[in-house]
Symmetry: C2
Subunit: 340 residues, 2 copies
């Protein structure tokens, strides 16, 4: 089964490449190609399974019907869900998605942005490392369509779709406080990320509202590079004297998993001795022992809205929709923080 090209069709049917191209791009009518000719072309193309070479198409049109999605890590369930929904939504609007993982490395991220631009993507959705302000600003300058998700640059005015990290974190911390917990630890990544900073702030202000003294020792900030090890130390320090926390807030699902594994290894009873809650969840968190109270992020909404904003902008319907969104998260109460 040989590949057919535009010129093959043209030659076989004794028409010009132009005619074939126009017809197959649904521009036959507006260019007054006769119905017979159109039918002839379409039939032939169908019969021979013609599909245009996207590279040639993209090159000559300067377009590609493709958007890029840059995320820190496709293996992380949070981002893989986003990728799934973005792909679905984009496809429904006629776009293909190019994924790539930055591995939380700003340099790689900026390479990816460039590489995607070379591939003529028409827009980008980026869950940024948040250490590429320059690159982002330059996209903005070039008026290149993009939407930040999950993480944004508060110092720069861009499209973004994020969740309300502050309130999500505050709410879940308050939940612990209402249940009578007083010594609440907080395990998080070093706040290079605004999202993480907001989660920390939410935690702090919840304490404040309950007139509980904020203690620096109860906050454990892990370096993003090898937190696997650090978290073990962090957990053990929190549960021991003099900290002896009665509960821990974990700022990502991954930290929660690893942390809980540690708590179990130390034979700490959860939630009796130490209650835990998680910002963001894993699909099995309701099955875990104990089921983990989590702040659930509206993954589907984030994805859909981001794609909508982006394609809206690509297709030039300026300003027609709200292009900065802060979505609410949902507190799913389970047994890991005890009950009323």
């Amino acid at each position: 089964m040989k590949k057919v090209f535009l010129k093959d069709i043209a030659k076989k049917l004794n028409v010009s490449k132009t005619a074939v191209s126009l017809v197959l791009n649904n521009k036959g009518d507006e260019n007054k190609i006769s119905q017979e000719t159109q039918k002839k072309i379409i039939d032939y193309a169908k019969k021979h399974n013609y599909v245009p070479n996207q590279l040639a198409r993209g090159l000559s049109r300067g377009k590609s019907e493709t958007i890029g999605l840059i995320i820190p890590n496709i293996s992380d369930s949070f981002y893989s869900k986003i990728a799934g929904y973005v792909e679905l939504k984009a496809k429904s609007l006629g776009y293909t998605v190019l994924f790539s993982s930055s591995s939380e490395d700003p340099k790689k991220e900026s390479e990816l942005i460039r590489s995607m631009l070379n591939r003529q993507v028409e827009g980008l959705i980026i869950a940024s490392t948040q250490r590429n302000l320059k690159e982002i600003e330059s996209l903005k300058e070039d008026k290149f369509p993009f939407v930040l998700i999950d993480r944004h640059y508060p110092e720069s005015e861009t499209n973004y779709v994020i969740v309300d990290n502050y309130n999500g974190s505050k709410t879940v911390t308050e939940h612990l406080l209402k249940l009578g917990r007083q010594k609440i630890g907080f395990i998080t990544l070093k706040p290079g990320l605004e999202a993480i900073r907001q989660r920390m702030l939410g935690y702090e202000n919840a304490l404040k509202d309950f007139d509980i003294e904020f203690k620096k020792e109860l906050i454990k900030e892990l370096s993003p590079v090898n937190y696997e090890d650090e978290i073990k130390l962090a957990v053990s320090e929190l549960i021991k004297f003099p900290n002896s926390v009665d509960s821990i807030v974990f700022s990502t699902h991954y930290l929660t998993s690893v942390g809980l594994r540690e708590l179990k290894r130390f034979n700490v009873k959860v939630p009796q001795e130490v209650a835990i809650v998680s910002f963001d969840e894993l699909s099995a968190f309701d099955l875990v022992d104990p089921p983990i109270t989590s702040v659930i992020q509206p993954v589907k909404d984030i994805s859909n809205i981001a794609v909508e904003i982006l394609i809206n902008e690509i297709e030039g319907m300026k300003e027609s929709i709200d292009n900065t969104r802060i979505l609410d998260s949902k507190l799913e109460i389970r047994k890991s923080c005890g009950t009323f």
Copy 2:
């Protein structure tokens, strides 16, 4: 910051496009471009941040340094992990990966294959719906490089990397038998997939080896489209009289999650009343109540080997490595099947 093109560089430096192209592709020496000229070009390109347009490059070379990965669903943690490892490995070998999800739809899958070919991918890694034999055969005919992963077409001779589903399933079933379980249910998807068929066969033969009568009623085959609902019925039928199973083998991690959720809703004690085991696991399965005994698939190996085979073939080092692999899975024993 304006984009620079090849011809801009050529014009500015008073050399030909050819020279620039050759030099930037590391073919300066073999084409006897003088060192000065080379340096001049390289310096200018670096200073002005030149990056070649991949579409143009791909179009003219008929290559793209890109491979395609087609999986059923990027949101599924099994496939998202594969995607992550494939991306990593491919990048380390100089290739970019184009992902896409087929949603388990053969028609979509065959569209994706075509669409990827149009994008000039140089090879494909496919976790096929296994209902596209024709498409696969035609790839083979065209001598287009591809590797099947996770699912292969036993009736067709191709490259593939899969796990030993039969033995994995047999082993885990035997494990239940050794623990004295006798009425073992099996919940699976309708075996359109060879992998699933093998898992079922493993289960059956384990029973046979233990002289336990194989009962059709204990096997529940769900339709892949709305198993969410069907599984609830399946679980309830299995645990009730006259089936009253003492254990269940779930054939995918997703079925395990949903199934366990159902068991809990029925207040069935796991593993005391019904032991469960899972083929394939979720990252939190060790934290679940009870921790779930699982057959763990070597996701990283699958990915790495598939990429190696593929790129080996793309780069024409024919036959130098073994191109059909059946990898062993690992039985991770946890508490969901009771203990010795």
